[in-house]
Subunit: 453 residues, 2 copies
């Protein structure tokens, strides 16, 4: 029996969002929909997007280079690099190989890991792979980096305001300020055609909206109950949401996350012993014989538990939605944007010792609930939080783009999605300093990039 | 410090190859090329292929179902399932989610892992992820399954005879008959456009043939030298190839593998102390000042070390090429077809205690050399070998197809690669019993399958 290092978790974290966004209120007007459809109905304020100057490789290069720079990482100190994405621009060559340009030039090439894909779950799978590597016999003392990035775009129509774009990079190793709980990861994996991308020549997904919500909520039911069961093996007093300081969710749009927290409370309600149910859930007894499988679209249940959970939502979940609300669905980085939002919403002193659960969901479908504990040593936390605050402050430096201009930029992306050779025409001026951008796709579809100084 | 299980490795293994093949000698005649171009120049005898009845999901379902059946696996005893493939038919939904149909119907849904992609390296990445999981704190006593599958097809022209198709499934857990060495995995990862699939609407790759060979050989140089260095940390007497009973390679075509073993000997030659060089490598001293980077296409070096290594090749590598020679390049399963070929070429008694290295290569590029030790207990080995022999014997039950008919079947595949809705027309009769096949692709590009009884 070999030894295993302790307290494996997140040592540092970097976030990148595009420098341009469209305001959802303005988009409501431009699309001629009823006021509040996007801002209240979906719970979204702003949506980040990329011009033809950015693709999945540039996004991941940008966030990785920032992580390395800001944390003075020696590339020879990295033993694993893995990418989670569903923004596929090559069916064979991984994004990771492109990221190797930052390492190979220094002679650092012995770095395991490639790309991993299942809708918005790829970043979480890459993260688990990195954790397992650090805990395995193959670990050699070096650290792992997980990069998750995506460009979420939809054709014209009701799904378009649920787009977004961004990337995160996580530095993983032992003795971390954010530590992953062991032995409690609870997954639910199944086959579903809720959201998928079988039209390889198109940048857009096929979506069965109603099925997607049902899949998300049923996966949440399964993961949450299994997570609680695993938690109680080590802590018999674990009371689910009530034992957690925060609960974070993959966020296709903020409203679904609020409904999800209500759903967690509905699970707690159904699981509660009859003798305490009325006390803990006053006025909700009429739902005691309801079944999970029958209530994915039950408005009465939804409204009752949305009302019941409002305070819990404000306290444990809402702080995690800042980036989601103001950038949109980033797909694989979405949950980690939630983590960043949660962390910067509080001071390091408030964060120490906190425990929270995270629910990762990728259509198709793959999902897991897992948990993170924040260490008790505030000094270990300061650097991570300061750095993240700097990243998140970029959101305020973005440029608002008129919906008509946004629509033109999307049209250009769509028209040239599969064109080669191709020279992008999007503005370089508008990009944040340090952003990688596409300079050319040649007749053999090889891509070249430059970095904005 | 938590405990870690010992002797993690391959508990069982299953192989699936298509039931039809084209003979390479006949293909030479049909294509009007010089005799021996494919059979001697590439070293290939037969090439397996799929009609429009099989896709990556059916291939992986077939091999996984066989593994489960033949080994009486209880699906509740599986905690991880991961797929390595570069045959992408959906940019978001993983093949793994489709495989979950075999588990979810039994209520087994808490199964981590999704798909991992980088050319022919995906299976190896999935394997390492599975090993790491078993060795991590997340392991709960259940086993992992790794599935690797691909359909390798090329447009008409000189690359077409380097196609192939197949799938493997590996059952991974502790106390295995085939055990992975710890701490010696040696990787080389870099960015290259040697072979890639950026034309998403086409089933065919873009290939820079010469660059691909250079990338493969330079990756081999790096991995082999680093592997030996890591090996010597635990065994100072480790002498590379001479300390190994076998050396297996990813096989795009058999001739490149023979050249690769020669290349390993060239590395040994350059690394050997001057005082023993002439004795160990008689007559080769004239190459002593040659550099690795200058000799990827040096015919003198290649010929000299091909001659030098002939006996070593026959002994340590050739037994691994049976499936590659008779099925073609299976991409991600290629190296594991090599492992199967090597294992069935000997009796369990001959295999016990043997040690061999494996070189995995995926263009783009990602590569690793690692090693396996066969346990000393022949009784642990018998079941695995017997089962594999049964799988490999399927090769003799295949049907030979005339090159003109093969070409028509390929034309049909190509014409309908991206068509929806689509009902395949390929023969079901020709499939092996137990083979999954595509029954329909509907207007929403959803795929349905059936299994041949």
């Amino acid at each position: 029996m070999g030894g295993r290092v302790e307290n494996v978790g997140v040592l540092a974290m970097e976030l990148y969002v595009p420098s341009q966004y469209v305001d959802q209120t303005e988009l409501e007007k431009y699309n001629g929909v009823s006021p509040g459809k996007y801002t209240v109905g979906l719970g979204q304020s702003k949506m980040g997007f990329c011009s033809d100057r950015e693709d999945i490789q540039s996004l991941c290069l940008t966030v990785l280079h920032r992580l390395i720079e800001k944390n003075n990482i020696n590339v020879h100190d990295i033993g694993r690099l893995e990418v989670g994405t569903e923004t596929i621009i090559d069916k064979s060559k991984s994004v990771k190989t492109f990221l190797m340009t930052l390492f190979a030039k220094e002679g650092a090439t012995d770095i395991e890991g490639i790309d991993t894909t299942n809708a918005c779950y790829g970043g979480t799978a890459a993260l688990f792979n990195a954790i397992n590597w650090v805990e395995s016999s193959s670990w050699d003392g070096r650290k792992a980096i997980v990069v998750a990035g995506d460009i979420a775009v939809y054709g014209k129509g009701p799904a378009r305001p649920t787009g977004g774009a961004g990337a995160v990079a996580l530095l993983i190793g032992p003795n971390a300020p954010l530590v992953f709980d062991r032995g409690v990861r609870a997954s639910y994996m199944a086959h579903a055609y809720d959201f998928y991308k079988p039209d390889l020549a198109s940048e857009f997904p096929l979506v069965d909206g109603k099925l997607s919500i049902q899949c998300y909520l049923s996966a949440l039911d399964s993961c949450y109950n299994l997570f609680c069961k695993k938690m109680r093996k080590t802590d018999p007093d674990f009371r689910g949401l009530l034992s957690l300081d925060g609960m974070l969710f993959h966020s296709p749009y903020c409203k679904l996350v609020q409904k999800s927290l209500a759903r967690v409370c509905f699970n707690d309600f159904l699981n509660s012993p009859p003798e305490v149910r009325e006390q803990q859930f006053p006025g909700l007894s009429k739902f005691k014989d309801y079944k999970l499988a029958d209530t994915y679209f039950d408005r009465d249940v939804e409204n009752a538990f949305m009302t019941y959970s409002q305070k819990l939502f404000d306290e444990k979940t809402k702080p995690s939605l800042y980036i989601s609300r103001n950038v949109g669905n980033m797909y694989t980085p979405s949950l980690y944007g939630g983590l960043a939002s949660y962390l910067v919403s509080k001071s390091p002193k408030e964060l120490v010792g906190k425990k929270f659960a995270l629910f990762s969901y990728g259509s198709g479908l793959a999902s897991t609930m897992y948990s993170i504990n924040i260490c008790d040593d505030v000094s270990k936390l300061n650097g991570l939080i300061d750095s993240l605050k700097l990243s998140v402050s970029l959101l305020d430096k973005r440029e608002s783009v008129d919906p008509a201009v946004f629509s033109d930029i999307m049209d250009l992306r769509t028209a040239n999605y599969h064109t080669a050779p191709y020279t992008p025409t999007g503005s370089i001026d508008v990009l944040f300093p340090g952003t990688y951008y596409l300079t050319n796709i040649d007749d053999q579809r090889r891509r070249t990039y430059d970095r904005k100084v």
